[in-house]
C-alpha cells in the first residue's frame, strides 16, 4: 500500500450520495501546506492525442503516473464508442461521445478527477489573456481552452488592450485604449459580441476583477487624483471608492465569498498586499514574512490560499495559506508573474519569461511542476481563468 497516505478521509459516503458507484474508502494525505498529495494512478490502453491529453489534464488535477503495482487506481481504456475508461477499484466505467476527441478526453479527465478528488474539474475550462507580437506595444485579448488549444482573438482594437477578467454569463471585462486613447474598462459579452464601457472616467481605468458571486467589479481608477481601488456594479453604476491613499493601488482580487478584496498598494513605500471589505472600511495590511515588493494577488476559490508575485530582483510566484499556523509565511514556488488559480484551487496559470518573451505556463502548486502552453504564438500574459 502507498506510504504516506496516513490522513484517513472516508469519502465513499459523500460519493455514494451523488453517484450509484460504491467507491469504498479512499485514503488520502496532505502535504505541509495542506494540499492533497498526488494520487498515484496507472493509465493504460490509450494512445496518441487521447493519451497525451488525458495525462496532461490529470497531471494538473492532483494525479501522478506510476507503474501498476504502485497505483492506487488503475485507469484503463474501455471498449465503448467515444473516449471512455474503466477504473477497476471504483467500478467506474464511462465513455464520452460528441464533440471532438480532445473534448471527449477533457470530459473524461474532469469526470475522473471529480470522482476521485471531489474537486472541480479544470479540463473543460477556458482562460483569457493578453497577446501581442512582442513583449511591449499594442496587444489584443484572446481566449483559449485551459491548455492553450483552440485560441481565438476576442478584440481587434489595434490598441493597447490588457487585464482581462472573466465575469459570469460568458462575459469578459478588460481594459482598452481604443475608446479615448487611454485605459478604459469594457465589458464584452462573448455570446452576442456586445461591448459596453463600464468605466470611462478621467485618467486611468484598469485592473477589473469580477466578484465570484458575479455582482460587483473591483477596479483601479485614478479620477480621485491617484490610482485607488473602487468597486461598482457590472454596468459601472453604483460606484464606490474603497481606498484613498496618495500612492497607487493595483491588481484587486476577491475572497471566494465576495465580501473582501485583496490588492497591492504602495501606501507604505514598497508594494504590499492589503485586504479591505468590499462594502468599505479600513484597508488592512497582510503580514507576509520572507518576501517583499508584492503584487498580483489571487485568492484560491476554496479560500485557503493566496498566490501572488514577489518582485525581488526578478519575479517569483509565492503562495501563502490564508488559514492555520502557516498564515503569514510565504513559500516561493517558481520564477514568474501574474499567477491565477484554476477552479480546483491546486493548478495555477502564470507568466514565465523565456528570453524576454512572455509565455503562459501551468503550475501544479504542491509539486511545482510546470508546463508551458506551447500552442500560443507571440507574447502572452495576464491570464484570467474562467471559474
Amino acid at each position: 500500500m502507498i506510504k504516506g497516505f496516513c490522513l484517513l478521509v472516508v469519502v465513499s459516503g459523500i460519493l455514494r450520495a451523488a453517484d450509484p458507484i460504491d467507491l469504498g474508502p479512499i485514503t488520502r494525505s496532505v502535504d505541509s501546506l495542506g494540499f492533497m498529495k498526488p494520487i498515484p494512478v496507472n493509465v493504460t490502453g490509450f494512445s496518441g492525442e487521447v493519451d497525451s491529453v488525458l495525462r496532461n489534464d490529470l497531471a494538473f488535477m492532483g494525479f501522478e503516473f506510476v507503474s501498476a503495482d504502485k497505483a492506487l487506481f488503475q485507469i484503463q481504456k474501455n471498449s465503448a464508442a467515444g473516449v471512455g475508461a474503466s477504473i477497476t477499484q471504483l467500478q467506474y466505467n464511462k465513455a464520452f461521445t460528441g464533440g471532438s476527441t480532445r473534448q471527449q478526453t477533457h470530459a473524461l479527465a474532469d469526470d475522473i478527477a471529480k470522482t476521485i478528488t471531489l474537486k472541480p474539474g479544470i479540463a473543460q475550462t477556458r482562460i483569457a489573456f493578453k497577446t501581442r507580437p512582442r513583449s511591449y506595444g499594442a496587444g489584443e485579448i484572446s481566449i483559449s481552452d485551459y491548455d492553450g488549444f483552440n485560441a481565438m482573438p476576442v478584440t481587434r482594437d489595434g490598441a493597447i488592450c490588457a487585464a482581462p477578467a472573466w465575469g459570469g454569463n460568458n462575459t469578459l471585462f478588460y481594459m482598452t485604449h481604443k475608446l479615448s486613447g487611454k485605459p478604459d474598462i469594457l465589458s464584452h459579452n462573448l455570446a452576442s459580441g456586445a461591448r459596453k464601457a463600464i468605466a470611462r472616467h478621467p485618467g486611468m481605468n484598469s485592473s477589473a476583477s469580477v466578484s465570484p458571486d458575479g455582482r460587483r467589479v473591483a477596479m483601479i481608477l485614478s479620477k480621485s487624483g491617484s490610482p485607488d481601488l473602487w468597486v461598482s456594479d457590472l454596468d459601472g453604476g453604483n460606484l464606490k471608492q474603497l481606498t484613498t491613499t496618495k500612492e497607487d493601488e493595483s491588481s484587486p482580487c476577491w475572497s471566494p465569498d465576495s465580501t473582501k478584496i485583496c490588492f497591492a498598494s504602495r501606501d507604505s513605500g514598497r508594494s504590499r498586499l492589503y485586504t479591505v471589505s468590499a462594502s468599505g472600511g479600513r484597508m488592512q495590511p497582510l503580514s507576509i514574512a520572507g518576501v517583499s515588493n508584492l503584487s498580483e494577488p489571487d485568492w484560491s476559490p476554496d479560500g485557503k490560499f493566496l498566490i501572488f508575485t514577489a518582485n525581488m530582483g526578478g519575479f517569483r510566484i509565492c503562495v501563502m495559506p490564508m488559514e492555520g499556523p502557516l498564515r503569514g509565511t510565504a513559500t516561493t514556488l517558481v520564477d514568474g508573474e501574474d499567477p491565477v488559480w484554476a477552479p480546483n484551487s491546486r493548478a495555477v496559470m502564470f507568466v514565465k519569461n523565456v528570453n524576454n518573451r512572455h509565455v503562459l505556463s501551468l503550475l501544479d502548486v504542491p509539486s511545482k511542476k510546470t508546463k508551458d502552453l506551447g500552442t500560443i504564438k507571440g507574447d502572452a500574459s495576464q491570464p484570467s481563468w474562467a471559474r
Partner: protein
C-alpha cells in the same frame, strides 16, 4: 442616452454545440460545456467599429448612480482626448525621468516642469497639456500601469500647484507598454521611467449644418 451602448464586433460566431448522442446506460453523452457556450469573437469578417462613445459622459452612467462631471474628483474630462490634435514635439526635450520604483519628481527634473508650465501658460486658453506616465519593465504589468499614472499625476500636481488650471491637464498611463528604449538594462530602464509632455491643440471649430 443619445448613444447606444452596444457594439457588435464581428460575426465570427463560433457555436460550440456538441452533438448529443444516445448512449447506452452508464455511458455519458457530452453536453454543451457551461450550458451553452457560443460566443462571438473579433476575428470575424466585419471590421471593428467602435463608433460613438458608449457612455454619456458628464451625465449619468447607465444605472444613473453617479454623475461623472468635469473635475468631479479633480481630474479633467478627457472623453474627447482621442479626437484632439496633438503636438508631441513641443516638449520633447522636457521629458521628466524618475528613480526606480518612485513617483516623486526629482528637484533637478522639476525645472523641466517649470519650463513646460510657462510655455503652456504663454500659449493661452484652448491649449491643453497631456502627461503620459511610463514605467520600466521591472514591475508587474498592472502595478506599472498604476505607477505610470501616479508619475503623471505627480507632475500634474506640480503644475496645478503652480497655477495651471486642473481642467487643462490630462494624464494617461502606458505602464511598461511603450518603452522609449526596448532593451533590458539599466541604461534603458532609466530612459523608460518617465513622464512625457504632449501639447494638446485647441479644439477645432466645427461648422454645423442646419438640416431643419
Amino acid at each position: 442616452m443619445k448613444t447606444q451602448n452596444l457594439f457588435v464586433i464581428g460575426f465570427g460566431t463560433l457555436l460550440v454545440v456538441l452533438t448529443g448522442c444516445k448512449s447506452p446506460e452508464r455511458f455519458t453523452s457530452l453536453g454543451t460545456p457551461g450550458g451553452g457556450s457560443s460566443f462571438a469573437s473579433g476575428s470575424g469578417s466585419k471590421p471593428l467599429d467602435l463608433g460613438t462613445p458608449p457612455l454619456e459622459l458628464n451625465g449619468k452612467t447607465t444605472s444613473g448612480e453617479e454623475v461623472i462631471g468635469v473635475n468631479a474628483y479633480g481630474l479633467s474630462d478627457d472623453s474627447d482626448l482621442a479626437n484632439r490634435d496633438m503636438d508631441r514635439s513641443a516638449f520633447a526635450a522636457d521629458t521628466v525621468y524618475f528613480g526606480y520604483d518612485l513617483a516623486s519628481v526629482k528637484a533637478d527634473e522639476a525645472t523641466k516642469v517649470a519650463r513646460v508650465l510657462e510655455a503652456v501658460k504663454a500659449r493661452g486658453t484652448g491649449y491643453d497639456l497631456l502627461i503620459e506616465g511610463h514605467a520600466d519593465e521591472r514591475g508587474t504589468e498592472e502595478y506599472n500601469r498604476a505607477l505610470g499614472e501616479r508619475r503623471a499625476l505627480a507632475i500634474r500636481e506640480l503644475l496645478t500647484k503652480s497655477g495651471l488650471e486642473g481642467t487643462r491637464v490630462f494624464t494617461r498611463t502606458f505602464g511598461k507598454d511603450q518603452p522609449a528604449v526596448a532593451s533590458h538594462d539599466e541604461a534603458a530602464y532609466s530612459q523608460n521611467r518617465r513622464g512625457e509632455f504632449v501639447l494638446v491643440l485647441p479644439k477645432k471649430l466645427i461648422t454645423t449644418q442646419n438640416t431643419k
